[in-house]
């Protein structure tokens, strides 16, 4: 039995399709749902955590159906939304104890000490949250989420708004939890973090999975090198043997090739001939950004923003 199993999971907000027939299974791994803002990541998590009813399709968490067995599902999971909601007028210990009591955890006070220690907050446990840094608040939320020993942990943008050191620490904790056998479902729009820390990645765009696999597998979809050219003016995709077009993002066009150093002059030449000015060329190894570019096209804010549809979305969430 997989920890998370979705079949054609779909959510419409009015006529706007936020999640489009998502079929996915996740088990005992760190799985990242990766995509730009508005691609359906949070909606997916809300459905899996029983906070939103799917329009179509079904989802199971630890063998329980999210619409029919909500309470059984909620006993198995913990959910940390991206808002960072901790009571700043309470101490760290009080915040965690509150959750322990709500879950009805046996030996609550020992368990609270234990999770505070895991999250390295023991020495600040009796200080008001007001005095905590962003990274500490996020760790406190993880402590709250761990207090009832969940099987599945849902983290919505766990590192958003944190500095580099705090991010690294959060990810180290997430990895440690995974080693203990927990399934961790993360959403993020930081490709580099997903690449570095996650076992498997699903790239989601407009509610659909565009690419799925380990970061290595996904990057292997491209050739060994990626060449990015910053150009001015219009260009046509040059037809050169062994060089493939990846995508365009703003004034940057990317190509992939087995031997990048040999491809560089060929590309510069071809682009120049096609009528544009090449400002710079760079050569590097493929990243998930390139995979993303190839799978779904340039990352941009969805334009043609429809106010009416957005309002419907907001109203639905009320």
């Amino acid at each position: 039995m997989n920890a998370i199993e979705t079949t054609n999971l779909t959510k419409y907000y009015g006529s706007l399709c936020a999640v489009d027939h998502l079929t996915l299974s996740v088990n005992n791994e760190i799985f990242a749902l990766l995509g730009p803002n508005g691609s359906g990541k949070t909606t997916t998590v809300l459905m899996l955590t029983t906070l939103l009813n799917p329009t179509e399709g079904s989802a199971m968490v630890c063998g329980h159906d999210v619409t029919r067995e909500g309470e059984a599902v909620r006993k198995k999971l913990s959910y940390v939304p991206q808002d960072m909601a901790v009571d700043i007028k309470l101490t760290g210990r009080e915040n965690v104890r509150f959750f322990a009591d709500l879950y009805g955890v046996p030996h609550a006070s020992d368990r609270v000490d234990e999770v505070l220690a895991i999250m390295e907050l023991s020495d600040r446990a009796d200080d008001l949250i007001r005095t905590y840094s962003g990274g500490m608040r996020r760790r406190l939320e993880l402590a709250q989420a761990l207090v009832h020993e969940p099987s599945v942990l849902f983290l919505d943008e766990p590192t958003i708004g944190l500095d580099v050191a705090a991010r690294k620490k959060i990810w180290e904790h997430i990895r440690a939890l995974r080693k203990k056998g927990m399934t961790i479902f993360v959403t993020t729009h930081y490709m580099d973090e997903a690449d570095q820390f996650c076992d498997r990645v699903g790239i989601i765009s407009k509610g659909r999975i565009a690419a799925l696999g380990t970061p290595m597998e996904l990057k292997a979809l491209l050739m060994k090198d990626v060449i990015t050219a910053r150009i001015e003016g219009t260009f046509t995709i040059p037809a050169i043997d062994g060089i493939l077009f990846v995508g365009q993002s703003g004034d940057e066009v990317s190509f992939t090739a087995e031997n990048g150093r040999e491809a560089l002059p060929l590309l510069a030449d071809a682009l120049g001939k096609s009528g544009c000015i090449v400002r710079s060329l760079s050569l590097r190894e493929p990243t998930l950004d390139d995979v993303f570019l190839q799978a779904v096209g340039p990352q941009e804010e969805p334009h043609g923003f429809e106010d009416g549809k957005f309002r419907i979305m907001l109203r639905r969430r009320k």
């Binding site: 955590t49 009813n53 006993k75 959910y79 909601a85 309470l90 509150f98 959750f99 709500l102 009320k318």
Partner: protein, 241 residues
């Protein structure tokens, strides 16, 4: 049940940590009691303080309820509600805990106001009368906090809610029987006052202090509270699914 108590405990802890809010909520009713209750020259009663005290107690519950209405909305806006909804604790206990907290907080404030009233010369009642008074205040507290929570959840915006709060609190108070009996009101005001839910609570408490048992106002309050609670639960359910 345990969930309800835990949610209430959180709110009480948070409330006691904000000392300014605890004191400031008491200033307004205390000022009414002292500056109006003691100073207003009225002809219709010998002890105006005894007349106005029930009105001020109900006013205390009213302002506690209206200011508490924003609490659940804030939990929602700040993301707490989503965390609570993902817990196996029955979801209804979030709402029940909130209403009981707002009412309980109002009763604590009303107790302080009652003590001040006694200190400045209000008549002491017997324990049964106090028990009945608290029961009426509790019913009224549940009514107002459920009403305020419903409006706040519906408006879903702090500015709109505080504007609403300012808009209704004073008119509700002045069009009730808090400050004068129906017999001295102009006819138009007396008509409005008869429909004001505050009047039911005030008349009931006043009847208790006079030694009576206000069965009808209590019954009306009971029905009103039931209706508003039902609407409140409906709105809460819509917000949470």
């Amino acid at each position: 049940m345990k969930g309800i108590i835990t949610y209430m405990k959180r709110d009480f802890l948070k409330w006691t940590r904000g000392k300014v809010a605890v004191i400031s909520a008491l200033v307004m009713p205390a000022a009414w009691l002292i500056f109006v209750g003691l100073a207003l020259p009225v002809q219709f009663t010998g002890n105006y303080l005894d007349f106005i005290t029930p009105g001020i107690l109900v006013m205390t519950m009213l302002s506690a309820g209206l200011s508490g209405g924003a609490l659940l909305m804030f939990d929602k806006i700040l993301g707490f509600l989503n965390k609570f909804l993902a817990l196996p604790t029955p979801r209804g206990s979030i709402l029940v805990g909130k209403i009981l907290f707002i009412t309980g907080r109002g009763l604590i404030q009303a107790t302080i106001i009652l003590v001040i009233a006694l200190l400045i010369g209000a008549t002491l009642l017997n324990p049964f009368q106090y028990g009945l008074t608290y029961f009426i205040l509790f019913l009224f507290g549940v009514l107002i906090s459920a009403f305020a929570t419903t409006i706040a959840l519906y408006l879903d915006d702090h500015d709109s809610y505080s504007a609403f709060n300012t808009m209704i609190s004073m008119p509700l108070f002045f069009t009730s029987s808090a400050l004068m009996p129906y017999s001295v009101m102009p006819v138009w005001l007396a008509t409005i006052a008869h429909f004001n839910p505050l009047s039911y609570a005030i008349d009931a408490v006043r009847d208790v202090t006079a030694g009576g048992f206000p069965a009808i106002p209590i019954f009306i309050l009971f029905v009103l509270t039931g209706v508003v609670l039902a609407i409140c639960m409906q709105v809460f359910r819509r917000v949470t699914v």
